[in-house]
């Protein structure tokens, strides 16, 4: 019921919100309240999940902290709002959250008619399938799934890709659609479905939480492009720029070899590019142009590390997920992560 109510409340906010309140600049609002309100997943290991002390850990929640570090110089000045797949958009539209970092696929309609701006891609993903190999020994390709019951979460691009993929391959399937992440997982684990489909990163994260992770196999096919990224409301270019360039700064820092450990030391570097991005040039405007302090990149990297560190710590080799960098490697190393010049 909660999600249903949130949907209605979101609309109610849209109906009742006084015209004056929403038009103020998000940066001023955020500074006035003293924290960034960030929408994250209800609990996806590696991307955003609370640890046993209740601290949010994950790739997406770290991005929220990076934005807080850029604005306040302190990565802890962030509050998290958990959102499921259906309530995330109303939460952002209604102004309940300042930014959404929740494995959200960048699509044209979301960018336009929903009234959002995607600030870039923090994770290049693709949709896949997972099956229980112990129960279905002969299956090793998604093309063998004709007739299968497939668990999927509602309100996602996943649901649409699934329909497209089975139609394109002339296969039948039986969608079992749930609203919440936990309900979907429970149904898959109980054997209600033969296969589970979502972004591959999500499948790996989910597999860790199942009773017997080794029984479950992610099939090799990737059936869609899922560029996941943080997003903000349309109509506030300054806030859009801050979030966008925070992401680029993280990527650029990795490219320049600036890490959480050496960022203070790097301030004294002779490399003009490093000096520029860290705001150490005389008369630097690297922060002023965004309405931030000039050493904002220093604070971001000191707070959460660079893009590569965030990746490895949460979902890469240093984490239980052990996802390879793949497409998310820097462009200089054969991947797609590429930041425009910070100058």
């Amino acid at each position: 019921m909660k999600k249903f109510v949130t949907g209605i409340l979101g609309s109610a906010a849209m109906v009742l919100m006084s015209a004056a309140a929403g038009s103020a600049a998000t940066l001023d609002d955020v500074k006035a309240k003293g924290f960034v309100q960030c929408g994250v997943h209800t609990g996806l290991a590696g991307f955003a999940a609370p640890d046993d002390q209740g601290n949010w850990k994950g790739f997406d929640s770290d991005f929220c902290k990076a934005v807080a570090a850029a604005v306040f110089g302190d990565p802890e000045k962030v509050k998290f709002t958990t959102t499921n797949a259906t309530e995330r958009f109303t939460a952002l539209q209604s102004g309940e959250i300042d930014l959404l970092a929740r494995n959200t696929t960048w699509t044209l309609s979301r960018d336009t008619s929903l009234g959002f701006n995607f600030t870039g891609v923090n994770y290049y993903d693709g949709q896949g399938f997972m099956i229980n190999a112990a129960k279905l020994p002969g299956i090793n390709s998604a093309l063998q799934l004709s007739g299968a019951a497939i668990c999927v979460q509602t309100g996602t691009t996943t649901e649409l890709n699934l329909a497209d993929y089975f139609r394109a391959n002339n296969m039948e399937y039986n969608p079992v659609v749930f609203q919440g992440f936990d309900e979907t997982n429970a149904a898959y684990e109980a054997g209600r479905c033969d296969a589970y489909t979502t972004d591959q990163s999500g499948l790996y994260a989910l597999r860790l939480t199942l009773a017997n992770p080794d029984e479950h196999v992610v099939l090799p096919e990737i059936i869609s492009k899922e560029p996941l990224g943080p997003l903000v409301r349309q109509g506030d270019d300054q806030w859009f720029d801050i979030v966008k360039w925070t992401l680029f700064a993280l990527i650029q820092a990795e490219e320049l070899g600036i890490t959480q450990a050496n960022v203070e030391e790097m301030k004294g570097s002779d490399n003009p590019e490093i000096k520029r991005i860290l705001g150490q040039e005389p008369e630097s405007k690297i922060g002023a142009m965004l309405g931030l302090e000039n050493d904002w990149v220093v604070k971001v990297v000191a707070g959460v590390g660079n893009y590569g560190e965030m990746f490895e710590r949460n979902i890469g080799q240093e984490s239980p997920l052990k996802i390879a960098r793949g497409l998310n490697q820097l462009w200089t190393k054969g991947g797609l992560q590429y930041a425009p010049p910070l100058r």
């Binding site: 019921m1 999600k3 249903f4 949907g7 979101g10 609309s11 849209m14 109906v15 009742l16 919100m17 006084s18 015209a19 929403g22 038009s23 797949a85 259906t86 958009f89 109303t90 539209q93 309609s109 979301r110 336009t112 008619s113 929903l114 009234g115 129960k135 063998q144 799934l145 004709s146 007739g147 299968a148 019951a149 509602t154 309100g155 996602t156 649901e159 649409l160 699934l162 329909a163 497209d164 089975f166 139609r167 399937y173 039986n174 969608p175 079992v176 659609v177 749930f178 609203q179 919440g180 309900e183 429970a186 149904a187 109980a190 054997g191 209600r192 033969d194 409301r233 349309q234 109509g235």
Partner: protein, 396 residues
């Protein structure tokens, strides 16, 4: 009323219009209407303003766009190529399906349990009491989870389905029955059913009139049942049973073919039926206890046997007490069916949510939900009011 008029007539010469209660009444009513209209105007303008400023497109144009998602259970032809409008209609029909099935079952269970609680048999009465107290005091969502996670999902998987009589199977993917495939001549069977109903109806009216005039009773129930069941049966036999069955077959993943009832539907339907039945049972009990004992005694004194007393004296009077609260239980059941989202049954709310997310038209979808639920509730209420008026005391 009369006294105030007298008062007013007495004092009207001296009292100014400001103190005239009638004029005051009118002024306040006009004021309330103006405030209400202003509020609606403000909310409307504000919404349009906010939507425009947030760059969110609005309007119902999205209904004609291709939906792009599939639905597991549909009463009409629907594919991912159909429009959002069709998707919402599929959801609405699924809501109506579960509500109608639930209402019928809940009424039957409710009447049995309600009468059972009044039974002289100690065991039956206690079992019925326990049933009512258990289901009435559990939130409906838990009852749904009980059926979905506690009963249906612990059934064996498709590979070792439970075999039931008549080639039907039960597993954690649902209930599988042989599907009847009718030959072309089979349309005569429903036709015979319609004829049977019409003839039975006419016969009943004739029998009623004859009994009123001559006092001669006629075995109405037996002949009606004979006509309604016997006629189609006779036609079926004459046509040489024009039906074949498609049996569920084991496929790679699941049983295929046959007629399937999905666990999502089953759990929601059973939960709503059992939950609402506990309330209906209490309403029925109250209705029967509400009929004065003197009525039964008077009827016995007139020489009516106990069956006839129940049918002609007690039940008609009890129905007058039962029907109004029964209506609100039917409305509750229909509205509770929106809990479907938690077990993945594609009802109006679930499909609406998917639509909302794929299009971002939250306000429009919420408006559609409200209008449809309001419409469903008002039509149920209208039907029950009509039924109530029919059952109400007719004074002669």
């Amino acid at each position: 009323m009369a006294s105030t008029e007298v008062l007013r007539a007495d004092t009207s010469a001296r009292v100014s219009w400001k103190n005239d209660p009638r004029i005051r009444g009118i002024i306040f009513q006009v004021l309330v209407v103006v405030i209400l209209a202003a509020a609606v105007y403000w909310i409307w303008g504000n919404t349009v303003d906010n939507l425009r400023r947030a760059n969110i497109s609005s309007g119902f144009g999205f209904l004609d766009r291709r939906s792009g998602f599939d639905v597991s259970q549909s009463l009409i032809q629907y594919t991912a190529d159909s429009s959002f409008r069709s998707a919402l209609i599929v959801g609405l029909l699924n809501t109506i399906l579960v509500a109608v099935c639930g209402i019928i079952t809940a009424t039957i269970i409710g009447f049995l349990v309600g009468v059972g609680r009044l039974s002289g048999n100690w065991l039956i009465a206690k079992i019925c009491t326990v049933y009512v107290e258990v289901f009435r005091n559990i939130p409906p969502l838990l009852v749904i989870f009980f059926w979905y996670l506690g009963v249906l999902s612990v059934l064996p998987g498709p590979r070792d389905s439970l075999e039931l009589p008549f080639s039907s199977y039960l597993n954690n993917r649902g209930f599988f029955l042989p599907k009847a495939i009718w030959e072309e001549s089979a349309w005569l069977i429903p036709a015979a059913l319609v004829v049977g109903i019409v003839v039975a109806f006419i016969l009943n009216r004739w029998a009623y009139r004859r009994q009123m005039q001559t006092g001669q009773p006629f075995p109405r129930l037996a002949t009606s049942l004979g006509l309604i069941i016997g006629l189609p049966l006779l036609v079926t036999l004459l046509l040489g049973i024009p039906v074949s069955f498609e049996f569920p077959q084991k496929g790679t993943f699941n049983l295929s073919g046959g007629f399937q009832v999905k666990p999502e539907f089953l759990s929601l339907y059973l939960a709503l039926s059992f939950y609402t039945a506990s309330f209906i049972a209490e309403i029925v009990r109250a209705g029967i206890l509400g009929v004065n004992r003197g009525q039964t005694e008077a009827s016995y004194a007139l020489g009516l046997r106990s069956g006839l007393t129940l049918r002609l004296v007690v039940i008609p009077q009890a129905m007058r007490i039962i029907i109004p609260p029964l209506t609100s239980q039917y409305l509750n059941l229909t509205k509770n069916s929106s809990l479907a989202v938690f077990v993945g049954y594609p009802d109006l709310v679930q499909i609406g949510q998917t639509t909302m997310n794929q299009t971002g038209q939250a306000i429009e979808v919420v408006a559609i939900w409200m209008v449809i639920y309001l419409g469903l509730s008002l039509s149920t209420a209208a039907f029950m009011n009509w039924f109530n008026a029919k059952m109400a005391l007719v004074e002669r």
